[in-house]
């Protein structure tokens, strides 16, 4: 029984870790889209940030300097997105595609120019990464039945970005749901004209939203290359930004349901990894590829309104033109 419990906790622990970049990117997309700016550039911002974090951490020896660089790069890309979509009212989808491709090419170009290792950064030493944090008393309490292992296995022992990702959920929920800024941000995504009539600047609110999105994607990048991994590898974001987009839609643009969707998708990924090569009773060999495709299929089905309905913010993707 104890062993089963510990096994279950380990799966949840793995799910949380794999869900971390999804949570951060999905929260980023949520803030941006609730303000009315489509963000399919989550993937690119995360990838560029992952490179910046690993490159600067490797050059300076400090993961904190890496984190600062990652946040800076991700926010710069977010501002570029804002400049194109908010200031110049460009197509938000095209701008997002451009950011993804720029990051995909730019990280390798910069990686080769800086390190000459085929686009990777050198492997990071222990001191150059964010290490797992052992919460106080994890060892001492581990022997307490049921709750002890829960604390030791699942709650304790994660890296800083994991805790920040989990914290980001109540923070974003509070920011959007309980503050004046959040009310205005949501109004900007639903009916910008009303915001404008109230004497507020739609552009300024949207810029703030994309910058918050940039910061969150930056953290996701930090997690990939300096906490979960030990260095940057080309294309290391591997479509996670798009799964986050799917989770954001699956959670219907609301923080807690989105968090749940991210955990679910993280769990599917963990399950698929565990079931690789395993033969299940009745089914035969585990359909690992199918399990990995479930997030995408589920999102398509949900969007089609076959169960539940995902309604995006009303002004999503529509540039705001101030009347003269």
């Amino acid at each position: 029984m104890t062993e089963l419990w510990i096994d279950a906790l380990r799966i949840l622990d793995g799910s949380l870790r794999l869900a971390t970049p999804l949570i951060l990117c999905a929260m980023a997309g949520l803030v941006s889209e609730r303000a009315g700016v489509i963000d399919i550039g989550l993937e690119g911002k995360m990838l560029a940030a992952a490179f910046a974090a690993a490159a600067v951490a490797s050059l300076t020896g400090s993961p904190w300097a890496g984190m600062a660089a990652a946040l800076g790069v991700a926010v710069a890309l977010a501002l570029l997105h804002g400049f194109a979509c908010i200031t110049h009212r460009g197509e938000q989808i095209i701008s997002g595609v451009a950011i993804n491709i720029l990051a995909s090419g730019g990280t390798v170009v910069a990686g080769i120019a800086l390190f000459r290792q085929g686009g990777q950064t050198p492997p990071l030493m222990a001191g150059e990464r964010f290490r797992p944090i052992r919460l106080p008393g994890a060892e001492a309490l581990a022997d307490i039945p049921v709750l002890g292992p829960l604390y030791a296995e699942l709650v304790s022992g994660h890296t800083l970005p994991v805790y920040l990702a989990v914290l980001s959920v109540p923070l974003i929920a509070w920011l959007l749901g309980r503050t004046t800024f959040g009310l205005r941000l949501r109004a900007t995504g639903e009916m910008p004209l009303a915001v404008d009539s109230a004497g507020l600047s739609v552009a300024v609110i949207r810029y703030r939203a994309v910058v918050i999105a940039g910061l969150l994607c930056g953290l996701a990048g930090v997690f990939l290359s300096t906490a979960h991994g030990a260095g940057f590898v080309r294309e290391m974001s591997a479509g996670k930004g798009f799964i986050a987009l799917a989770a954001m839609i699956f959670g219907k643009w609301r923080p807690w349901p989105v968090f749940g969707a991210c955990l679910l998708f993280g769990f599917l990924e963990t399950a698929a990894a565990r079931l690789q090569g395993v033969t299940l009773p009745l089914i035969g060999p585990a359909p690992v590829e199918l399990i990995l495709l479930l997030p995408y299929i589920a999102t398509v089905v949900l969007l089609a309104g076959f169960f539940g309905r995902a309604v995006p913010p009303r002004a999503l993707g529509v540039p705001y033109r101030k009347e003269r």
Binding site: I38, I40, L80, F83, A84, C85, H88, R89, G90, E91, Q92, I93, I94, S95, V97, A98, I99, N100, I101, L102, A103, S104, G105, G106, V108, V109, I112, A113, R116, G119, G239, F242, L245, A246, I249, P287, E289, L290, L292, L293, Y296, I297, T299, V300, L303, A304, G305, P312
Partner: protein, 362 residues
């Protein structure tokens, strides 16, 4: 649309946008510590001068023409088909299934047309579902096509590592098609006609791509359907009021778009490879977005934009040999810059240009 003279809008503005993209790329090369002029020369030589270079350039051009045309047809109805990548992958599956099933039974001359139809049909089917979901269920086509890209990739992985995998092999690819069921290489045709030619992957699908471009021009600008399609793109409300069945237009536009994207497999699978391999789409579907934007959704523009990207891809490979610090990924960066400046920021110069030309007009 813009308060600019026609030649400025169609000539000067796109030129300014592209130049800006290349200027930024040049600045990046200079920042790395190499000479942008030298890099450009290496790429041009690699793309056009060396023996066989032009063949490779046109081979890449073929891919970009198909995906560029695919994106543009959807664009005319204001649909963003981000799914050319997945549709091309499915097109490859369609072509491969036909070849594997029939190449031992039928003569090559009969297999090839069926395989082409298979590629187009599978690509179209993969695009029709997102089109139908947008038209009838209101789900955003951008999101569904992105998801469909991943699903297509997953389907291909499971088929190529399972039922379609070549017997007695462990690499994820099908068996080779019969020689007669493949599209002939243009160098083979040239040699058969008595001209010497260097062997390149350039094959008959290049000519099919040119035909497709002409076909798209006729379809969009010379048919009633094309007129209706453009009407839907300009103003959905007006189109509906004029009695155009908008949902059906959306579905058919996506079918045509997907069929064109699926035909990219003609070049890679039926032509160059002669078997279905994993990841043969390698981003060409996304580059199609850049090609369509740069070519301003017109087949002639798309041809030249595809040629430019073909030259960039082939010339970019040359960078690997000539420089230590810049590689072919530079081309991906340039592609991103082009999408940024001639897509997302396409109207950035409009206010400034409008001021100049209004001042001159007065």
């Amino acid at each position: 649309m813009t308060p600019l003279p026609r030649w400025v809008e169609l000539g000067l503005l796109p030129l300014a946008n592209i130049s800006l993209a290349f200027l930024v790329a040049g600045a990046v090369v200079a920042l790395i510590g190499e000479s942008p002029v030298e890099a450009m020369a290496v790429m041009l030589k690699g793309a056009f001068v060396y023996d066989g270079a032009l063949g490779y350039t046109l081979y890449y051009t073929t891919n970009f023409m198909f995906t560029g045309l695919a994106v543009s047809v959807a664009f005319h109805a204001m649909l963003f088909n981000i799914g050319a990548e997945g549709e091309a992958a499915m097109g490859g599956l369609g072509a491969a299934l036909v070849c594997i099933a029939l190449d031992a039974v039928l003569p090559g001359l009969m297999v090839i047309p069926i395989a082409i139809a298979g590629a187009a049909a599978f690509g179209a089917a993969w695009a029709v579902v997102p089109g139908w979901l947008q038209a009838r269920r209101g789900s955003h086509i951008v999101i569904t096509t992105i998801m469909f890209n991943f699903i297509a990739a997953g389907v291909l992985v499971s088929l190529l590592s399972g039922p379609l995998m070549r017997a007695g092999q462990s690499s994820p690819q099908t068996r080779d098609f019969a020689e007669a069921a493949r599209l002939p290489f243009l160098h083979d045709i040239a040699r058969a006609l008595g001209f010497p030619a260097t062997a390149t992957p350039l094959n008959l699908s290049f000519l099919i791509a040119l035909l497709a471009a002409f076909g798209v021009w006729v379809l969009i600008w010379r048919t009633r359907w094309g007129y209706a399609l453009r009407a839907v793109g300009h103003s959905e409300g007006a189109a509906r009021y004029a009695g155009i069945p908008v949902p059906r237009m959306v579905v058919v536009a996506m079918a045509v778009s997907g069929a064109l994207a699926g035909c990219m497999a003609l070049n890679e699978i039926l032509g160059a490879q002669g078997r279905l391999v994993l990841n043969f789409t390698s981003g060409y579907g996304f580059t199609g977005i850049a090609v369509a934007l740069m070519g301003r959704n017109h087949p002639v523009g798309i041809f030249f934009a595809a040629l430019l990207f073909g030259a960039l891809y082939q010339g970019g490979a040359e960078l690997d040999f000539e420089f230590q610090t810049i590689t072919r990924e530079m081309v991906v960066l340039i592609q991103g810059l082009i999408i940024l400046f001639s897509g997302a920021l396409a109207l950035m110069f409009v206010p400034a240009l409008a001021r100049i030309f209004r001042a001159r007009a007065q």
